[in-house]
Symmetry: C2
DNA sequence: TAAAAAAATGAACAAGCGTTCAAATACGCC
DNA sequence: GGCGTATTTGAACGCTTGTTCATTTTTTTA
């Protein structure tokens, strides 16, 4: 059965299938984090699950689709952050702090220090365009918050584009060094990053 | 002739050879920046120079050696920054600002927004160990400067390790978005980064 | 409990890529 | 200017990896 063709299957089978897809994505993320997408083989992913690589084709049409599904999950998390930050915060400063803190938390808790930010060019052209669009949406919200903060006097006169690149660089780099078993917990880390990066901006 | 075996050749031939090696490294860096080390083929590198991939073996013993040589150049630049910053600066704050500014300048002017920071695990074990040691030296200098600044009261009570990871993340990410033809010049960028990251630290 | 569906397997294939090698071409040098 | 050296070439090889496919095994469902 093709990867997402779940029409006419029972809820039980659908659940089982979703669970397996989730396991594959989790195994893929762990290996991509360790050695990058191109150096990750389907054998590597399958080995983590105790199955043969040919079984993966029951759930995903090809290797690229696995990477793409990882990206979609990540982007959907970021979309959620955008949505929640619009509702929870009174000032631009507060909103940016929330976004930084929560982005760090997502990076460290849910997406295993997600290496996806480094693996966009590996996607096929159509999928890459979609992922870039999603990433750009998130980036633009960050820029808008920074620009609004400059305008309101909360932040000093920085270029939103540069500031946001620096912020995202600091956050994405967490994937390169964060050890879940290390001393820094994700929530503490998020606080430290928010404080550091916000203080870099305030007027 | 093996890659670095230049005993008994004339200065002219040695110069020519060094120039060619530099061209190869430059072509390699450009392609690695575009698509990552694993997705970069020897054909890709050779194409940029108008030669066949088999000619590369005249200058480097293998593909890994090309990546390794790129790293060594990069590390030697960073060693120079360390040395110069020890001589030029009166305070920890000034020294850290210098290092950030100059690191950004090197990234944008000399090593084509160097993607090397992302490509360490691709090296063979021995070479990787050496490159990691070199990178750690640089990182430790940064940490020491931050720690000394905290101690002297120039910086607030941050964890040097976390702060330096955030700083390096912001800087290394430049390789992902910096466009040499874009608006931001490396020197301006270095100033902005130094200001932003320093202000994030001051007491 | 048996038939149908889902999931997994092993074998095989095609393509790509790093590397080697002998030969040809270009350059250096006396 | 000719011999020696440096550089490049095209062909070939071995290996890896993504993918396909027929078959087997396991699970689901009525």
């Amino acid at each position: 059965m093709p990867s997402e063709a779940t029409a006419n299957v029972s809820p039980h089978v659908r659940k089982k299938r979703e669970r397996r897809r989730g396991e594959i994505l989790h195994a893929a993320l762990a290996t991509v984090r360790e050695r990058g997408y191109h150096a990750t083989t389907l054998d590597d992913i399958a080995d983590r699950l105790g199955i043969r690589k040919t079984a993966l084709y029951h759930y995903f049409p090809d290797k690229d689709a696995i990477l793409y599904a990882c990206h979609r999950e990540s982007l959907s998390e970021l979309d959620r952050l955008i949505h929640d930050s619009a509702a929870c915060c009174a000032s631009n400063r507060e909103r940016l702090a929330y976004l930084i803190r929560e982005h760090v938390r997502v990076m460290t808790e849910k997406l295993e220090g997600s290496p996806l930010a480094f693996e966009v060019s590996a996607l096929s052209p159509e999928r890459r365009a979609e992922v870039i669009a999603g990433r750009d949406r998130y980036e633009h919200v960050l820029r808008d918050v920074v620009a609004a903060g400059v305008e309101s006097g909360e932040f000093r006169a920085v270029e939103p584009k540069i500031a946001v690149f620096a912020i995202l660089g600091a956050i994405n780099w967490i994937a390169r060094w964060y050890d879940p078993e290390g001393g820094a917990r994700g929530t503490d880390l998020g606080e430290q990053f928010a404080e550091f990066l916000l203080q870099g901006l305030v007027a």
